[in-house]
């Protein structure tokens, strides 16, 4: 319940945050805290320094940027759920975020924190992959854009460097998108989550809880691209995935769920 002791720094700017992160290799970023603090309270995570970026209000925005929508990394889930731009241009995002956690969590948790945490069970992880989102990061060497497909490198591990901050998530405007989440109960992580969207004329599918990271169901996408039916494409949902066995579900059940939910998601699209 009580985290191990740590030092606390508050960053007044992105640059300052980058600099503070550079001073200690066991420093961690504190945004909404709703992924990090639970891990720290169980002493699974033990950073020596927390760099609080929670005051960087200029990272809270949703704005149209050409054919993309740019979302500031510190935008809170509750704000995404209400956002009028996303509601009309990329409703898949608010529809998914509405399923994250609970209202209290959504009042504090941020999209950047959620994505950067790189939990393979994360709903947003599946969605940013399905959308081919661009993750904008800033670090000591400047700014770079990381494609979602290169962002999740391992369980709870992202492509962000130790001093890099995720500052913006850029999603395409999308008319058709669906996120299906199977859970043991409403409070649970996704036993399996399936995000499907039509992006630039192509149907893309992201998976949650089907491997060590969020995954693209590439075999499903290939099958669809070559004209397969939803059912036939969905039959390939587990290819390239490695569904875990844990207390929520066995690997076999996850595999089965993935096939069923991918088919349903495609049919609902």
């Amino acid at each position: 319940m009580i985290p191990a002791a740590f030092a606390y720094e508050r960053a007044g700017s992105v640059e300052e945050a980058i600099e503070l992160l550079g001073r200690d290799e066991d420093a961690k970023v504190l945004a909404g805290g709703h992924s990090l603090l639970p891990a720290m309270k169980l002493r699974i995570s033990r950073p020596t320094v927390l760099v609080d970026i929670g005051r960087l209000d200029d990272l809270r925005y949703v704005r149209e940027d050409g054919d993309r929508i740019a979302i500031g990394a510190l935008t809170r889930h509750a704000a995404l759920v209400r956002d009028p731009v996303l509601a009309t241009r990329c409703a898949l995002v608010p529809q998914t975020v509405q399923l994250i956690g609970d209202p209290q969590v959504r009042h504090r948790g941020t999209i950047g924190g959620s994505v950067a945490h790189a939990d393979p069970a994360s709903d947003l992880g599946a969605v940013v992959l399905a959308l081919d989102a661009e993750l904008v990061a800033r670090g000591p060497d400047g700014e770079r854009t990381i494609p979602a497909t290169e962002f999740f490198t391992g369980p709870f591990t992202s492509a962000l460097g130790p001093q890099e901050l995720l500052t913006e998530i850029r999603v395409p405007a999308v008319e058709r998108g669906v996120y299906l989440k199977h859970q043991r109960s409403s409070r649970d992580w996704a036993t399996v989550g399936v995000a499907a969207a039509e992006v630039g004329g192509r149907i893309q599918v992201g998976l949650a809880s089907m491997g060590p990271t969020s995954l693209r169901a590439s075999a499903v996408e290939e099958a669809l691209a070559s004209g397969a039916s939803a059912a036939d494409a969905a039959a390939r949902a587990v290819e390239g995935a490695d569904p875990p066995s844990d207390v929520s579900a066995s690997s076999e059940y996850r595999a089965h769920l993935a096939r069923v939910l991918v088919q349903r998601a495609l049919e609902q699209l």
Partner: protein, 154 residues
């Protein structure tokens, strides 16, 4: 230690806190406001729910240092001495509490829910309270209380 200044139940407080002190323990132990309860260690049960800048938040998942500069309302700050806030009154009238341990958290979550959605359907109420757990009531009367509070314009 880090200095924090925040308003709690309309009273301003300043204190030096250890960075690892959770807001819930700051409220309970530094300020002596024992009404907010700790029910779990995984941010699941919502017994610790308070309002921070008007929104429901699990105070066990916020560091006191993060609440610097905030306006916090706890269960003690909902109503004046001797009175009950309409949500508290509704919980009473609908028998929406038994052992009472989850109650402050549910009341604060309800205040926030009705603030954002003044006329929720039963489904919206149940989903709006999925961050709060109760073992005694089976939730039925809690939902009725929220409906009653909504009708009363809470």
């Amino acid at each position: 230690m880090t200095r924090v200044a925040l308003t709690v139940n309309d009273q301003r407080h300043e204190a030096d806190v250890e960075p690892r002190q959770l807001l819930v323990y700051f409220l309970r132990e530094t300020l002596g406001l024992k009404g907010t309860n700790v029910g779990c260690d995984t941010s699941s049960c919502g017994a610790c729910t308070v309002l921070v800048d008007g929104e429901s938040v699990k105070s066990c998942t916020v560091l006191a240092v993060q609440a610097d500069g905030s306006d916090v309302t706890t269960i003690e700050g909902l109503a004046a001495e001797g009175e009950l806030h309409p949500v508290q009154q509704a919980f009473h009238e609908q028998h929406a509490l038994q052992c009472g341990y989850c109650t402050p958290g549910f009341v604060m979550a309800t205040v926030s829910l009705l603030d954002e959605n003044p006329s929720p359907s039963e489904d919206e109420i149940r989903r709006g309270l999925e961050g709060n757990l109760c073992r005694c009531t089976g939730y039925h009367n809690i939902v009725r209380a929220v409906e009653a509070a909504a009708r009363a314009g809470a």
